[in-house]
């Protein structure tokens, strides 16, 4: 990624040296990483909104309003994945590493894959091992 804003669902205070959240809908905060010319320019966080049953589109709207271009998840359901696709937000997948920094660096370097439809939670796919 050369330019754009990356969002990472994060635990507690978030930040580049923080840890990722296991379920994007239930995360404490979203860490935003603004990338310019292939380098990290700025890191910020915003609190997540409350999660309610059926509220998968709440974080989709929240991240779209904050002009996010890419999201890194460990797992995601079909409905929010399709919502992010419709909102023009690319969804990347890493279900192994709990740290924020290495997955962000991999995304910027083009080493992280976008999640596929058969990797979604439910229907036999998905799942993650993050905290």
């Amino acid at each position: 990624m050369e330019n754009g804003r990356i969002a990472v669902p994060s635990a507690e205070k978030g930040g580049l040296d923080g840890t990722r959240s296991g379920h994007f809908g239930h995360c404490d905060v979203f860490t935003f990483i603004d990338v310019e010319n292939g380098s990290i320019k700025e890191v910020s966080t915003i609190p997540n909104q409350s999660h309610v049953q059926g509220g998968c589109m709440v974080p989709v709207n929240l991240l779209a309003e904050h002009k996010v271009n890419a999201l890194i998840v460990g797992g995601i359901g079909m409905r929010p994945l399709m919502g992010f696709k419709q909102a023009g937000i690319d969804v990347y997948h890493d279900s192994e590493r709990p740290e924020i920094k290495p997955v962000v660096e991999d995304l910027i370097a083009g080493k992280l894959s976008q999640i596929t439809d058969n990797q979604v939670c439910g229907g036999g796919g998905g799942g993650m091992n993050l905290a």
């Binding site: 059926g54 995601i76 229907g123």
Partner: protein, 131 residues
């Protein structure tokens, strides 16, 4: 005004639910089949879709699985006799607003309305519009 689409081949079974919703400023549209409902949702944006447990050629849950990828912003409720655990397993990732019991009571309609109101507030509802 809130806009809901009810999909049922047996209108009588969900009539009381529809009446309760209408009393609460919900405009109801009926679809007798999944294909009719898919066609309607491609032309008009609804706030909520309610699927009966069994449609003409699939279950309501199977119908929701079809509609979510093409219209992820649509809030969904479905009638299901599955146990809570089985329903959770079968619907994981679909972000279903509420599992409705087969024997619907007024309190179920009230709870559905409350959940919908919460979601619409969180997602900054702007009203149903023609697509």
């Amino acid at each position: 005004m809130t806009f809901a689409l009810i999909v049922s081949s047996d209108k009588y079974s969900l009539l009381e639910l529809a009446k309760t919703l209408e009393k609460n400023d919900v405009d109801i549209t009926w679809a007798e089949s999944s294909s009719d409902a898919l066609s309607m949702t491609s032309n008009t944006m609804f706030d909520l879709i309610i699927a009966d447990e069994f449609l003409e050629n699939m279950t309501g849950l199977e119908f929701i699985k079809k509609i979510v990828p093409v219209n992820p912003m649509l809030n969904c409720a479905v009638v299901s006799s599955l146990s809570q655990g089985d329903f959770h397993e079968a619907s994981e990732g679909l972000g279903i607003l509420m599992q409705l019991p087969v024997q619907l009571k007024e309190k179920d309609a009230d709870e559905l309305l409350q959940r919908l109101k919460t979601i619409l507030n969180l997602t900054h509802k702007t009203g149903a519009v023609e697509k």
